[in-house]
């Protein structure tokens, strides 16, 4: 199983389990992976998901990082 598939499965499990505390970091991990591969649009999709779930979960650190990356790419403010 490659890293992306494994991450997708962990995301699905977290969604199915209603594990809202896990979602921000999982999406952040996905965003970082895509950003490292130079896929800015895909990365920003995942940063957005991470940002929203982090706001919802009160995960300030993840929300802050995701938002900063989005701002850097001109995708949020």
């Amino acid at each position: 199983m490659n890293a992306v598939t494994d991450l997708q499965q962990r995301m699905l499990r977290a969604h199915h389990a209603g594990d809202n505390a896990a979602l921000p970091t999982l999406y952040l991990e996905a965003a970082r992976l895509r950003e490292a591969q130079g896929e800015v649009d895909a990365a920003c999709f995942f940063y957005t998901q991470a940002y929203v779930y982090a706001l919802d979960a009160g995960d300030d650190a993840t929300a802050g990082e995701a938002r900063n990356r989005l701002k850097t790419h001109g995708r949020d403010r």
Binding site: V40, D41, A42, A43, C44, F45, F46, Y47, T48, Q49, Y51, V52, L55, D56, A57, G58, D60, A63, R67, L70, G74, R75, D76, R77
Partner: protein, 383 residues
């Protein structure tokens, strides 16, 4: 309003000696009830909930008040705000159940996120996947729709049309009359100081019954032992509130223990108590050692929820060692209010008597009730 209705309301606005009460339709007609939402509620200050519903920062309480979805939120600065409980995007209900929010109000549909002050925080993918910006989506114009609100004696008042005078102006006379109570903290103990009654009557009948003492010896004979009819006086402030006062309040819940009194009250309150209906939907009681507030939540033209919350003078009174006394106090009030149910429900049934003409007021005993009828009539006629 048609000519016949105008004439009937004109009869209500006569001096108390000759006035008639409100016509039956004001209790039995669903269309009048719909009109009341605008004329008697939305255009003034009405109670839509209690501070004790959202005690902690981030607490959010969705309510349906007069059919309007509202969201009450306590922000990180402890500031309480009321919003229409809808997303500015597609009008989705934002919060379905009472909850504690972490740091945002997130719409469950497309996840538009709002700050606790209502400002729009982010709009995920609004400019396409991974792009949360678009020139047409101006966040500063798309905050939650705030409903004007004001906290008073543990209650959250709202002015739905946003056009009423400021609350302190609206309730100026009562604020002056009860200045010894209104600016001090009130302490609420939670469930044992809270109860609801579901009554099959128009909400106005609950107001009318509450604000007069005439019925006390007949409906509450238990009060005769220490609080006789002659110990009461009328409180009348046309256009604002009316009620009754007692000069013999003497709490006898326990032989040895008592609730702490509010600090610094004048001698009047040693044995004084006052009960007023603050129009439209609040029934209040003040005593030297506790206050209570009843929110009338009309469910329809003939169904009302009475929500009762009791408040104490100090935090210590809300501790576990006073729980039994609080329970006794809540039970005492609940028993009294239950005694009133057959009356308000009986009057509701009576309003189906087609030849009933609104009734007749005692110029001595019914003045607080007359005052309320006159307020209703004047708001409907604009006079």
């Amino acid at each position: 309003m048609n000519i016949l209705a105008q004439e009937m309301l004109s009869a209500v606005m006569q001096p108390v000696e000759t006035a008639r009460g409100l016509p039956n339709e004001f209790y039995t007609d669903p269309e009048v009830h719909v009109a009341e939402k605008r004329v008697l509620f939305a255009s003034t200050w009405a109670c839509a909930g209690f501070v004790s519903d959202i005690p902690k920062r981030g607490d959010a309480n969705p309510v349906s008040f007069l059919g309007q979805p509202l969201l009450m939120v306590r922000g990180n600065d402890d500031d309480i705000k009321v919003f229409q409980n809808v997303c500015r995007h597609r009008g989705m209900i934002l919060v379905e159940e009472k909850t504690t929010l972490r740091s945002t109000i997130r719409c469950p549909y497309h996840s538009w996120c709002y700050n606790f002050d209502g400002s729009l925080r982010t709009t995920p993918h609004v400019g396409g996947p991974g792009n949360n910006l678009h020139d047409c989506i101006k966040r500063e114009e798309l905050g939650l729709i705030e409903v004007r609100s004001h906290v008073f004696m543990g209650m959250i008042f709202v002015n739905l049309d946003g056009k009423a005078p400021a609350f302190n102006e609206h309730a100026a006379t009562l604020l002056e009359q009860w200045k010894e109570f209104v600016d001090r903290p009130l302490f609420h103990a939670g469930q044992d100081s809270s109860f609801k009654l579901n009554v099959r009557c128009n909400w106005k009948l609950a107001v009318e019954n509450y604000c007069e003492s005439y019925h006390l010896p007949w409906v509450h004979p238990g009060l005769n032992s220490y609080s006789r009819l002659e110990d009461h006086y009328n409180i009348v402030e046309p256009g604002a509130y009316s009620g009754q006062g007692s000069v013999v309040y003497n709490s006898q819940l326990d032989a040895t223990r008592k609730f702490a009194n509010f600090d610094g009250l004048s001698d009047k309150w040693n044995t004084g108590a006052e009960y007023v209906s603050l129009y439209p939907n609040v029934l209040l009681g003040v005593h030297r050692d506790h206050t209570f507030a009843i929110m009338l939540d009309p469910q329809s033209h003939d169904q009302t929820i009475e929500r009762v919350e009791i408040f104490y003078a100090t935090e210590e009174m809300c501790g576990p060692e006073m729980a039994d006394l609080r329970q006794k106090n809540a039970k005492m009030w609940k028993d009294i209010f239950i005694e009133d149910i057959f009356v308000v429900e009986g009057m509701q049934k009576g309003r189906s008597a087609s030849l009933y003409d609104g009734g007749k007021f005692s110029p001595v005993m019914d003045v607080p009730t007359y005052c309320f009828h006159e307020w209703v009539a004047r708001r409907f006629t604009g006079k």
